[in-house]
Amino acid sequence: MDARFVPLFVIIPLASAFLIPLFAKLWQRSADLIANAVGAVLAGLSVYGALSLFTGSQVLVYRLGGWHPSLGITLAYDHLTALVVLAVNIVGLCALLFAVRYLDHYTGRWKFYALFMLILVGLNGVSVTGDMFNLFVFTEIAAVSSYALVAFGTDFDELEAGFKYMVIGEIGGAAILLAIALLYAKASTLNMAVVSQVMAGFGRTPLFWLIVAMFLVGFAIKMAMVPFHAWLPDAHPSAPAPVSALLSGVFIKVLGVYAMSRVMFNVFGLSRANAAGFFNLLIGFGVLSIVAGGLLAYAQKDYKRLLAYSSISQIGYILIGLGIGNYWGIVGALFHILAHALGKGLLFLTAGSVEHATGTRDLDRLSGLEKRMPATAWSYLLGSLSLAGVPPFAGFFSKFFIIVGALSADMYWLAILAALFSTVTLGYLVKVANRAFFARRDREPTAAREAPAVMVVAMLGLLVLTIVLGVGFKPVVDRLVGPAANVLLQGLGYAQGILGM
């Protein structure tokens, strides 16, 4: 297969981030058009990319400038990349569609879209790159634009959250840069495939584990695993709703989970068999995230803040799936990346729709919205059933696979905990439905009107995909998620595909 489409994932949004301000000077609304057209093209391209892997090739490699991998930057597109790119661009498209009307009560429309495109540049870049320093640069592109978008409302809360997010996030970025410096000092190359071959020759010295630890700290901050989560419950609710959907849906997973698993599994060659301690550590952090995130979510009175704590809890599920480290555990973790991206993206969009209609996110002030906003209410309800793991929605299968993985690894307590906390998930998500959408006897329904048509279309799009992913889980697992899990499980075998051996 031809790999020439791979750099387009970076080039198209980067060019549009430049063109949007230019055309917006001529005609304000052109920003909507360009951004949504680009979103649709990228979503189509990511579907094309995933389909092109079905024909049998394991990895598509693009060498920038035609340089040999040990000298230049390579871009690689394998099943794991295809999976995250698909999640990024589909959630991105729905968020962009939603933004068209949501931005009505914001100023600086084109600034929003330009920054949003830069986030897409960063996320797609992190997914397709095969170079360590390139990974850092794209991480920073995505991160810096997200700091600006969190503070986009420039009110008290947004500024506070933006600053807090920025300081903590940049400490994470600094940790990643230091880790890359140490890695370069040891390996004298930055190409992931070449690094992994060089590192295979070194022993597991203290320096090796120091590099692993620095990377882990950096990615842990980006993915907001407990105890590195302090910024997330402030930052995600303060951003405009489409941005929250992108941040909670895919941002933390691409910059955190995906980048971490690529580096740990494929570059350092860690696996359950040769580094059990590291994987137990992941399970430990995962359990901590599930429990702390889930219980704190219960206590929230703010619609979006509750969802933000729920994201921390769901990141915990992905972590224990990776930590279990066998085939079904990793399949569950990767499937949960997809299911949670669609589900949490959807829930944040409903939050935006409610805020757009009523002007508040306070669950104590909302009531009985189901009568006035049926589409939003039912999107919320079905989306939350998916996240909580009710069959036949997508979220059920990811948790099911993780539990199968735990059982086949003889970790019975982990399986019990995962099952138990999916009822906690259901509990706090139903709390929102009860308070905001379904009538309470002691309270008048809040005055509101259903969201504009494009916002409803964006929500229904994600809802339909959640159901399709759940009902049609088998082909998705066979063709995409299973091969993606094998990419991680092959460990250092990754290098052979890139170097063409």
Partner: protein, 113 residues
């Protein structure tokens, strides 16, 4: 080895400032310290005693003393990223001051729970 540890010490001093200082501007200065210490560390990785620039001027010249140019190129990129983050942090600090009329982070605490 001493320069490497001095760099790490600088990182720690910067982190100390970020964690303990109450004034936003001091936090930003502490953060810049972390950033530049890491850049310095990265540049040191490519350092070679009595090294020469990696330019081939005549045939038969010994190449064993060439300095590795890649860390310097990477540090340049890192500096540019650092410029963007520092600028954005300062811009946020200015907006925070306009809203809250203070730089003290203990008084900028509306989000909790």
């Amino acid at each position: 080895m001493i320069p490497y540890f001095a760099c790490i010490l600088l990182v720690l001093i910067g982190l100390y400032a970020v964690v303990t200082k109450r004034n936003i501007v001091r936090i930003i200065i502490g953060f810049s310290l972390v950033e530049y210490a890491i850049n310095l560390f990265f540049a040191l990785v490519g350092f070679k005693r009595e090294g020469i620039p990696p330019i081939i001027t005549e045939l038969g010249q010994s190449r064993s003393n060439f300095v590795d140019p890649l860390p310097q190129a990477l540090v340049l990129t890192a500096i540019v990223i650092g410029l963007a983050t520092t600028a954005l942090m300062l811009a946020l600090a200015m907006r925070i001051y306009e809203k809250y009329r203070t730089f003290d982070i203990t008084e900028i605490r509306r989000l909790r729970g």
